[in-house]
Symmetry: none
Subunit: 202 residues, 4 copies
C-alpha cells in the first residue's frame, strides 16, 4: 500500500467529516477531535493539513458552496428559457439539500459564522451575489420593472425555507418548499394563478 499522495484524501475526508459532524451536532460547537475521529485520523493530522480549526471550517464552507454552485450551474445548462432558468435554480437548491441533508445544518451555521470570520463572510457574499444575479437576469427578461424585487423575494424565500429545514422540520418539505417558491414565481409571471404540483416543469 503506497502511503504517498494522502494529502488530498485526508483533506477531503476531514472536510466531509466536518460537514457531517456539524450536521449531526446541529452547531459549530464541534471539536477538532470529533472531526478527526470521524475522519479516522488524529487531531494532530487535522492541524497538520489545515493549520487551524478556522481553516477546516473555511474549507468545508467552500466545499459546500462549490457543490451547490455546480448543481445550480448544471441545472441552468439544461434550461431552455428564462422561466425555466428560474425554476431550475429553485429545484437545484432544494435537490442539493435533499441529496445531502447534512449540508443543511452546515448552511445555517454558515450564516452565523459569517459574523465572525471575514473569510466566511466573503464566501457567503459570493453566494448571495451569484444567486441574486442569476435570478435577476432571468426576471429581467420576463418582468423588467419588477426584476429587482422578485429576485430579492425569491432569494429570501429560499433562505427562509432553508432555515426551516435546518431547524429540523420533518416530512417531505423539499417538495413543499419547491411548490411554495414556484407558486410565488407563477404569481409574479403568469396571468392566471398557478396551481402547485401541476404546471411545473416535471
Amino acid at each position: 500500500m503506497p502511503k504517498l499522495g494522502m494529502e488530498p484524501i485526508r483533506r477531503a475526508a476531514l472536510v466531509s467529516a466536518t460537514i457531517h459532524e456539524i450536521g449531526a451536532q446541529g452547531s459549530m460547537d464541534v471539536t477538532v477531535a470529533q472531526i478527526a475521529r470521524r475522519a479516522g485520523v488524529s487531531s494532530a493530522l487535522a492541524h497538520h493539513y489545515f493549520g487551524s480549526k478556522e481553516q477546516i471550517f473555511a474549507a468545508s464552507m467552500r466545499h459546500i458552496l462549490t457543490l451547490y454552485a455546480a448543481q445550480v450551474r448544471g441545472a441552468l445548462l439544461m434550461a431552455p428559457s428564462p422561466r425555466a432558468r428560474i425554476e431550475a435554480i429553485i429545484r437545484a437548491s432544494f435537490t442539493a439539500m435533499s441529496t445531502r441533508p447534512e449540508h443543511i445544518s452546515a448552511w445555517l451555521n454558515f450564516y452565523v459564522q459569517a459574523r465572525r470570520s471575514p473569510e466566511t463572510a466573503r464566501l457567503l457574499g459570493i453566494y448571495h451575489r451569484r444567486l441574486q444575479s442569476n435570478l435577476h437576469h432571468a426576471f429581467a427578461v420576463l418582468a423588467p420593472s419588477r426584476a429587482d424585487i422578485l429576485a430579492r423575494g425569491v432569494a429570501a424565500m429560499i433562505d427562509g425555507l432553508y432555515c426551516r429545514h435546518a431547524s429540523g422540520a420533518g416530512g417531505d418539505i423539499s417538495a413543499h418548499s419547491i411548490d411554495t417558491l414556484l407558486h410565488y414565481v407563477a404569481l409574479a409571471l403568469d396571468d392566471a394563478p398557478h396551481i402547485p404540483n401541476q404546471g411545473a416543469i416535471a
Copy 2:
C-alpha cells in the same frame, strides 16, 4: 436601601445583557462572565438566579419571543381587515427588528440553538405555529384555496430576510424587506400587480 426584591431586576438585567452580548459578538459563543459583567453583577449571581447557562439563554429567547409576540399582537389589534392583518404582521416583524437591532443576531442564533436545546426548539415551534396560524387565518378569508401555501411563503420570506439582516447587510433593508413582502402579498391577492408604496422597484 432594602436589598429585597432584587430577583426580577437582576433577571431582567441578565437577560438584556445576554441579548446585547450575543448581538455584539455575533454568536452564541458568549461566556457567562461576559454576560454578568455587562449586567454589572458577578457570574456567580447569574448562576444563582438561573441555575445554568442554558437557562440564561432560554430566558433570553423567551424574552425576545415575548416582545415580538406583543408587538405583533398590538399591530393586529388595529388592523380592520384580513388584508390589513397580513400587512400588520409583516410591518411589525421588521419594525421590531429595526427597533432592537441587537435582537436580530440573537434571532439567527435562536435557530442554531434549537438544534441542541429542546426548550429552544419548543419556543421556536411556538413562534412558527403562531406566525403560520396568524397568516393562515387572514389568507383563509381572502384566498381560501391558497391560504396554506401563501402563509408558508410569507413566513419563509420573513425568516429569509431576517437571515440577510443577521448576516450584516447594511442600508435601510428594513424598508426594502417590507416592500418585498408586500409586493408578494399584492401578487397573491390583487388582480393587478401591486406597486409597493415606497417605490422600491428600481
Copy 3:
C-alpha cells in the same frame, strides 16, 4: 478562615514559585502547571490572576529587579564616599545573589527572554541604565576621564560573573567574585596595586 484578599497572596506565591521553578529547572522551559503546583494552586488560578504565562514571567522579572534595586539602594544609603558607593554596588549585587540563589538562574534567563519579549527587554534596559548610571556617577568624581570605560567594565564584569554563577560553578564564588571586582576597581583608582581581601570595606 476568611477567603477574601487572597489575590495579593496568590500573586506573590506564584511569582515566588516561578522564580524557584526556573532556578530548579535551569531554564524558562517551565510549565504553568509546574509553577501552579509549587504555589499550591491550580493552573487555572494562575491564568485567572495573570492572564497568560508571559505575564507571569514578566511579573517575576519585575520582582527580581525590584528586590535587586532595593538591595543596591539600601547599600548606597550607607556609603560615605564615591569609592564606597562603587564597592557598595558590587557587594550588594553579589550579596543579593548569595542570599537568593534561585534568582541567579532566573537572571540569566532574563537575558534570553529579553530577545523575545519587549516588556522583558524594557526591564532589562532599566537595570542596565541604572547600574551604568550609578557606577558612572561614582567614577566621574574619582577618575573623570575614564568614568565611562570603567563603568562599562565593571558592569560587564558583574554580568559575566553572574553568568558563571548561573552556569552552576560551585564553591564560595560570591566572595571570589567580589574580590575580582574590587581588585579591578583598585587597579583603576589606587596608586598601589590592591591586595584582595584586605583593603576592602569590611
Copy 4:
C-alpha cells in the same frame, strides 16, 4: 550524481541551520522542523543523522566552540609576547563574534542549556578552562601574584560583554568591548594608565 557521502554535507547544513535559527529566534525555542526547513531537508532526516534534537544542539555547540577555539589558536600563533597573547585572546573573541553575529545568541543560550544538558555543561567547562588557562599562562609571566584574579576578571568581562551583545545592544560594540578589556589589562600591567588605542573614552 551519486548520493553517496551526503552525511557530512547534511550534518554541516543542519548544524549551520541550527545556529542561524537560534540566532534569528533569539532562543532555544526552535523546532526541529524549522531547522530542517532552513537546511533544506526533512525533519525526519535530521533525526536520521543526529538521533535527537538534543544531539543536534550539542553538535551545534561543539561547532561554535571549535570555531572559536580555532580563531583563538590562530591569533595566539602570531603573538610574540605574553602581553600580545592576552590581547590576541581578547581581539579574537570579539572578532569571532562580529564575524558571525548569529553565534552570539547561540552563545548565550549555551549557558542556559548547560543547566540542563550534561553534554553542554561539559563543553562549556572545556571553554572556561581553556580560556582561563590561556589567560593565566600569559598573566603568570607578567604579574605572577595576580595571575589568578586577573585571568578570572578578564574571562568574566568577556562573558559579560557577550551578554550585552546577545541582548541586542546596537552600534559598534565590538570595538567598545575590546577597548574596555584592553583598558583593564593596561591598568593591571602598565605603570601608567593605558589609553585605549581607539579613543573610546568619551
